[in-house]
């Protein structure tokens, strides 16, 4: 699969590494080239400096041929905007968006945007830990 990942933070870089190891064709997009240091050694995919809410940058990253797009920068709204560009402008089949704010995540899920709120999931994991 051809996959574009926007945001090369810890999660982005780890995800890129995992998918790359499975033989997928990965392009990672980040505003800061310094973030790419997080990519694992031997990463075979592409790393591009660019703004994921800019159509030209997304095109350069190969969004037009992409089967999946992940929006996992630190900003909820950047992720939401980029995901909707991927979904509605480039018709990417699978778009997955990280939204920290649980209420916002709920709303966008109901609007048909596949999204995950790490806040809810992590709080839940912590609670379960305590309960054993």
């Amino acid at each position: 699969m051809k996959i574009v990942i926007m945001g090369c933070g810890r999660v982005g870089a780890t995800l890129a590494g995992l998918l790359d190891a499975e033989g997928h064709n990965i392009t990672v997009l980040d505003l800061d080239s310094y973030s790419f240091r997080r990519l694992p050694a031997g990463f075979k995919g592409k790393a591009l400096v660019g703004n994921g809410i800019d159509e030209d940058a997304l095109r350069k990253a190969g969004i037009e041929q992409a089967d999946a797009f992940f929006a996992i920068t630190q900003g909820d709204n950047r992720n939401i905007l980029a995901s909707q560009i991927a979904k509605h402008t480039f018709n990417v089949k699978r778009v997955i968006c990280r939204i920290y704010d649980p209420l916002r995540q709920e709303l966008y899920e109901s609007l048909g945007l596949e999204s995950i709120s790490p806040t809810v999931i992590f709080a839940d994991i912590l609670k379960k830990k305590l309960e054993g």
Partner: protein, 221 residues
Amino acid sequence: MYIIVVGGGRVGYYLSKALLEEGHEVLVIEKSQAYCDIINEELGSICVRGDGCETSLLAEVGTARANMLIAVTGDDGDNLVSCQVAKHKFNVPRTIARIRNPRNEILFKKLGIDITISSTNVILEQITDVVPTHPVTHLHEIRDKGLEIVEVKIPQGAASVGKAIKDINFPAGTILTLIIRKAQKPVVPSPTTVIMAEDQIVAVIDPLMEGDVRKALRGMS
């Protein structure tokens, strides 16, 4: 009317001031305490500090009874989300977003934002006669029909030059209504009318197809 303005920077400040002067009830949501203080001091206590995308804050300020939400922060993503939350969570009848990147105009409309304002586009459209950079000038929008009337100028060397209209591949729904030619009376084109360089064409288009119309008329050969 009850109008919520998201973003209390310069645009938000002057916008709110004008709306207040017209007698509307205005509430500003602004992230920075310093900007909040300025507005509260100068325009009366109408500013709440917080994130205009957050559902809880929007509920607190009574977004459900707002007639309009105008998002004028400097960030396209923030403005989009504010408008979408207002529209889908609180059924605000009219949402307006300021846009920095003119490309986002089409996407925002597709996503149901009622009005988008891109200062870049406004300036480009104003200077289009002086500096012919902007390929498509938006003349009028027929909102409920999803149509737009635009003006397109044909550049030298475009692939459409010398072709009859019927031989050009337009997106469905495009109607060329008028051709304005130098030193000639404007003509209503027929399918056999041949396009010439420097023609100004007035057309009715589907705004979502603007890119394709531009390509058909202005694409280089």
